[in-house]
């Protein structure tokens, strides 16, 4: 252990000198220098993250009368309203269900994609660029684009189906097909993200391990299940947490689909927050719903941290 470097200035200049004197002469203590350098980032974090979060907590106490929107009081009624709100509970369970479907789907597609991108072929760069594109596209563009492609009259998917002799599917109109369309779109967008993270994990697995196993007579499947996958656990954990949290907050894609005609069957928590806050201008209740979403995210994160992290060690 290196000894912390002490100031080479004579004791008389550092001991007992004021902060300002030490600052000017360049003899700040290490801890003081650390605080000074971190200060700008802390201010930024407080301003951009902490202040709005506190604002949301305060805003959730703003109770707007449902009949007379200009009558505003302060209190905890929003919370009791939240627990009795059927629409909130529907959005809650729907978001969890959609999250389960899209997270599972993105892993089922993402892992093979990562393995493909890891292969030593000349096309590797092409696969990696193709992987990057869906994730790089802004969510709302993805949503609007796919909503148009799923359009029952003019959409590309129905055009292909009809040309192949199948029946036209009313994608966004019927609730079950709207769910399928939504899940497919989200999987398309996020499996590339999962693949990229898993690719990073795959790249860090030393080749000698699988080579040694193959010398010992293991098949590629055994190599995959017994060596690759266990070593990929940390990367999987990271991808899982990121994917789950963003799946809980999903807004752009269901919103784009609902604007294009999908029924309420796609209303997730994110969409419901927007509806209350922007459309109904009930900022208080919208903040309360977003606190519900925050609580859900917190619970899921804690679950992950307890069950996934210990496996790493």
């Amino acid at each position: 252990m290196r000894q912390p470097e002490l100031s080479t200035a004579p004791r008389s200049q550092t001991r007992g000198a004021t902060f300002l004197a030490r600052f000017v002469s360049g003899n700040l203590r290490d801890s003081e220098l650390a605080i000074l350098l971190l200060a700008p980032s802390v201010v930024l974090l407080v301003g951009i993250m902490l202040y709005p979060m506190l604002n949301v907590f305060l805003m959730s106490l703003r109770v707007q009368n449902t009949l007379e929107p200009s009558m505003v009081t302060t209190g905890f009624e929003n919370f009791s309203r939240l627990l009795a709100d059927k629409r909130f509970l529907d959005a809650f369970t729907r978001t969890i269900w959609f999250g389960f479907l899209t997270v599972t789907g993105s892993f089922l597609i993402g892992l093979p994609l990562a393995l493909l991108a890891n292969l030593e072929t000349g096309w590797r760069w092409l696969v990696r660029v193709a992987l990057l594109l869906p994730w790089a596209m802004p969510q709302i563009i993805t949503g609007t684009m796919f909503a148009w492609m799923f359009n029952s009259q003019y959409g590309v998917f129905n055009d292909i189906l009809v040309r192949l002799g199948f029946e036209r599917i009313y994608w966004l109109i019927r609730p079950d097909s709207a769910t399928v369309a939504f899940v497919l779109t989200v999987i398309w967008k996020t499996s590339s993200f999962v693949a990229l993270i898993l690719l990073g994990g795959l790249q860090s697995i030393p080749l000698e391990l699988s080579e040694a196993a193959q010398v010992d007579g293991a098949t590629s499947t055994q190599v995959f299940w017994r060596i690759t996958l266990p070593l990929l656990r940390p990367a999987i954990a990271v991808a899982l947490i990121f994917r789950t949290l963003s799946a809980l907050q999903v807004f752009d894609i269901p919103y784009a689909f609902m604007s294009a005609g999908a029924s309420q069957s796609l209303e997730t928590l994110g969409v419901y927050v927007q509806k209350q806050t922007v459309e109904f201008t009930d900022f208080g209740y919208g903040s309360t719903v977003s606190l519900g979403l925050f609580a859900l995210s917190l619970v899921i994160t804690v679950i992950y941290l307890r069950f996934i992290r210990p496996e790493e060690s």
Binding site: L67, S70, S152, Y170, P175, A260, G261, Q264, S265, F280
Partner: protein
Amino acid sequence: MKAKNIATLAAFGLAAGALVLSAATAQSKTTITVFFGSTFRPDLMRPIFDRFEKANPDIEVKQELGGATSELQNQYLTTVLSAKDSSLDAFLIDVIRPAQFQSQGWLEPLDKYLGGSAKTQEFLSGYLPGPINADKINSQIWALPASTDTQFLYYRKDLLAKYNLKVPKTWEEVISQAQTVTKGENNPQLQGLNFQGAPIEGAVCTFLQPFWAAGGELLQNGKVNVNTEAGRKALNLWVGAINTSKVSPLSMAETRTDDSRKIMQAGNAVFGLNWSYAWAHFQGNSPDPTKVKGLIGVAKLPNFAGINASSANCQGGWQWGLSSFSKNKEATFKLLKFMSSSDAQAELSIKGGFLPVRKALYNNSAVLKANPHYTQLYPVILRAKPRPVTANYPKVSEIIRTNVNAVVSGAKTTDQALKDMQAGLEGVLK
């Protein structure tokens, strides 16, 4: 070396001078930003703004285009105005919004710009009463009407003539005529009856119009009364058109106003419900090509057989609002007054089919030449009924339009939707 220095200095001085000069002239011009939806014919608005700029050389008008549907524009305006942002000086809002906007404090009252309440009365006397009622709150005027609107039944004159059919007067006739024509034409692309079933603002009218035609009223004796026979008739009209008589495809559940217009403009609909702006598009005054020029007739919306309703028309229309956060209120009001003038109104009507808000224009020969159906439909326009005027309108609208969409898409039965509408509206309408 010395000459080079002088040359450099001179060039620098010239550039600096030009910069200062241009900055000075730029500052002397007031720029006002006007927001309206992308379907409100920016190609027709821009020349009118240019004429205003010519008449007022110190004002520059920038147009900012918004979403294609009323509620998308509303969400954008809500975001900007909730933040008390001054970037928008004037905006065009749907007729249902002034009450909500005024209660939020987003609109500037216009009486003082018009010169006091007496002069305001005089100014407004030339306007149709319907639009004024939407903009008058607590005896002050909060927005200037830009256009009024209502839905008409557009039909293919040529197809009706081909099958010897007379213009339908009842919904039952519409359905049977649509069946006759579509069976005869045997064209899978041809829709019998086209309407808007997507969860847009217009879907509220998709419900209210047949509801009123069936004798229904949203509020009866101060109580919400929508789960009635009239409500059932209204919703079953559309459900039947899709599932029973099959004159409308299921895609109506994702059809919005401009989608409807495009379908009919391409010649793929026999009957279609749409607002006044569609007429100009059908006649060829449109950025899109038209296959139906001269083939479209306009009729008032049908009644139900045996029911004599006073009016079955939804009052639409757009209003110019002056943002209370604008930094150029005087200049912006000048523009709003200009847009309200007879010339601007007439031009938008002749070129865009927008219904004028000035009574006199319904006798104007140029306006009537471009829109021959105005004379016959003027009484209908006068009798158009407003949707509920309440600051809580966003919730009312959401309840009605999402239930209409659910019924049209088949996600809910008519009875369930009426139950949900009744329960929902009871909580927000009084």
